[in-house]
């Protein structure tokens, strides 16, 4: 199996066309700043949802602390650009590295826990990260890290998001990804088959955390500010809703979840109190009537209409 297949090239081509159209519309001011913001938010949310899906959906390790890693990425990248005046790409990379490293350090001990214990422990760790940031005056403490330059534009968001999708898709389809999926299906059986379950759980957790850091860097450099109050566990629940709605273990599902819910919250922008009510009802109804989410663990591209595009990629 090659890293880049013919099918991937076709998808890249399609994405380039989509990008060109949207960028042209943005340049001609057909899309106003409100929808530009939402397009960038969609890209950031897709990165968050897909990376959370890698942990929750593919590896089956229920994490509720994703916003904490996003916060680390946001703050570390902001330090790089604001305090050291280094380029944005480097800031994204260092942000990703920092939250990946933290994910590794946190994941190593906590991933021994399972199910609901892991959920609560990660939720607690996310909050600890936030409270720690709140108490560091160097990054602004409770009033937030202000004066971050706006480097994120649609091009950055789009291509970083595309890279994330490509990376995670290839990871999931590799032998590492299959090891992760086997842990989700049955951890004891996976271990009996000789899979080092701790190693793969930590790999998935670290990768997911690193991409959350990337999303955090894009987020902070779009909104000029990184504020500890933005990264509460409510934010983690947002991304959880996107992942669950799309389907645990489906990348296209997570994309759909991120796109739909970002549009829903944009549409409900004037009634913010209704947004969380809609989210909660979506969660409850999905669990009661369609617990596998919109796509289950299928991909949109595995539908029969896409079959003929597949060519010799298998």
């Amino acid at each position: 199996m090659r890293a880049i297949t013919k099918k991937d090239l076709k998808i890249f081509g399609a994405c380039a066309v989509v990008y060109a159209i949207i960028e042209a519309l943005l340049q001609m001011n057909v899309i106003g700043s409100f929808w530009e913001l939402n397009l960038i938010l969609i890209a950031i949310n897709i990165i968050m949802a897909v990376s959370l899906n890698l942990i929750n959906g593919y590896t089956g390790q229920f994490s509720l602390g994703h916003a904490g890693f996003m916060a680390v990425g946001a703050y570390v990248s902001a330090i790089i650009t604001v305090k050291f005046h280094l380029p944005f790409l480097l800031a994204i990379l260092v942000g990703a590295l920092a939250s990946g490293l933290l994910g590794f350090l946190i994941g190593l001990p906590t991933l021994r826990l399972n199910g609901d214990y892991l959920a609560i422990a990660t939720l607690g760790l996310g909050e600890i990260i936030r409270i720690t940031i709140l108490n560091i005056p160097y990054v602004g403490g409770a009033s937030g890290f202000m004066g971050i330059p706006r480097y994120t534009n649609f091009a950055w968001a789009f291509f970083v998001c595309l890279f994330t999708l490509f990376f995670i898709k290839n990871f999931v389809n590799s032998s590492h990804g299959r090891a992760c999926i086997s842990i989700r299906e049955n951890e004891i059986a996976a271990e009996a088959m000789g899979i080092d379950t701790t190693k793969y759980k930590v790999i998935a957790f670290t990768t997911g955390a690193a991409f959350a850091g990337v999303a955090g860097a894009l987020f902070a450099h779009y909104f000029y500010i990184a504020h500890p109050a933005s990264f509460t566990f409510m934010m983690s629940f947002n991304y959880l809703t996107m992942v669950v709605m799309g389907g645990l273990g489906s990348i296209t599902g997570s994309i759909a979840g991120a796109v739909i819910l970002t549009f829903v919250s944009a549409a409900l922008a004037s009634w913010p109190e209704w947004r969380m009510i809609v989210y909660s009802i979506v969660l409850i109804l999905l669990m009661l009537y369609r617990p596998q989410g919109l796509f289950g663990n299928m991909e949109l591209t595995s539908l029969s209409i896409f079959k003929r595009f597949k060519g010799g990629s298998k």
């Binding site: 214990y117 609560i120 909050e127 720690t132 909660s280 969660l283 669990m287």
Partner: protein, 301 residues
């Protein structure tokens, strides 16, 4: 450290212990509901903290709008919240009895968000000032200050815990609850209506959380729709600390957590108070996941 400083330190220590015990008994009341539900259906009922919020609001309306005094409004709040807890179990958790654990956990998160933001819509997000139903007198015992409301919190919590222990240990429904928690299938084969027992467990747990809500409302004078999030999570920490599923464990865990929090906010910084609770959770989960009162159970393949 000279003699005077040491005295001052000791005085502050004991003062924080007094504050911690009254705060801790609130956590203990909420933790009991978590632990009982977990003991029976192995579910972390994320919505439990929000039942505590509902309890506080029912208590608020009972005292402010109906003009009831402390004890009747406490009982009214416990009954109504108990019924709401049973309703939630019936509507949301019972259809998922055989679904994967994660599905039930996500539903619980959904219910919790629905109660929080539904509460914002119904009760408005503005904090309400709880009517002053109990006179607050401050007693000075030497250098220490004890508030009469702290004593009432402690007394009411102890009474409720004694009643709970009696119900669980001596009554027929308590016996059935213990049987279901020990082995659900065997209990069902012995003719116990498992669904009814689960429903009763939710009712009792929710009533205890509601009592905690009313007590906190009286103590802090202010309630709001999101007040249940943090105490709910911390009560869960208390339940894990004592050993989840173990009733005396939840009581002890709550008090220990309350004392630790009071010490952290008294001696380090109140901003680290919430972090301390989660740090305890992680330490306990890593070193003794069965909790202080729990026995280690080997996982069978």
């Amino acid at each position: 450290m000279n003699g005077g400083e040491r005295m001052e330190f000791l005085e502050q220590l004991i003062q924080q212990l007094i504050n911690g015990v009254s705060l801790g008994s609130i956590y203990a009341l909420i933790a009991l509901g978590y632990t009982m539900v977990y003991g029976i259906i192995k579910l972390i009922n994320f919505a439990h903290g929000d039942i505590y919020m509902i309890g506080a609001y029912v208590g608020f309306f009972a005292t402010a709008n109906l003009g009831l005094s402390f004890v009747p409004s406490l009982i009214l709040s416990m009954i109504i919240s108990g019924l709401i807890g049973m309703l939630i179990e019936r509507m949301a958790y019972r259809p998922l009895r055989h679904a994967p654990k994660i599905a039930v956990l996500i539903t619980a998160i959904g219910i919790s968000l629905l109660l929080e933001y539904g509460g914002m819509l119904v009760f408005t997000p503005q904090p309400r000032t709880f009517p002053n139903v109990l006179e607050s007198t401050t007693y000075h015992m030497g250098p220490f200050v004890v508030n009469s409301q702290q004593i009432i919190i402690l007394v009411v919590s102890v009474i409720l815990m004694i009643i709970l222990t009696y119900v669980v240990q001596k009554t027929i429904i308590g016996k059935a609850m213990r049987a279901v928690s020990f082995d659900t299938d065997a209990a069902q084969l012995m003719g116990i209506d498992v669904n009814r027992i689960i429903s009763a467990t939710f009712g009792i747990g929710s009533a205890l959380a509601a009592a905690a809500g009313v007590l906190v409302g009286i103590y802090y004078n202010s309630i709001d729709p999101l007040m249940g999030i943090m105490p709910g999570l911390k009560a869960f920490v208390a339940a894990v600390l004592g050993g989840i599923g173990i009733i005396p464990g939840a009581m002890a865990g709550g008090v220990i957590l309350g004392v630790i929090e009071a010490l952290v906010s008294g001696f380090i910084s109140s901003t680290f108070r919430d972090a301390a609770a989660f740090a305890i959770l992680i330490i306990i989960l890593l070193f003794k996941p069965s909790g202080l009162f729990g026995k280690n159970v080997r996982e069978k393949v």
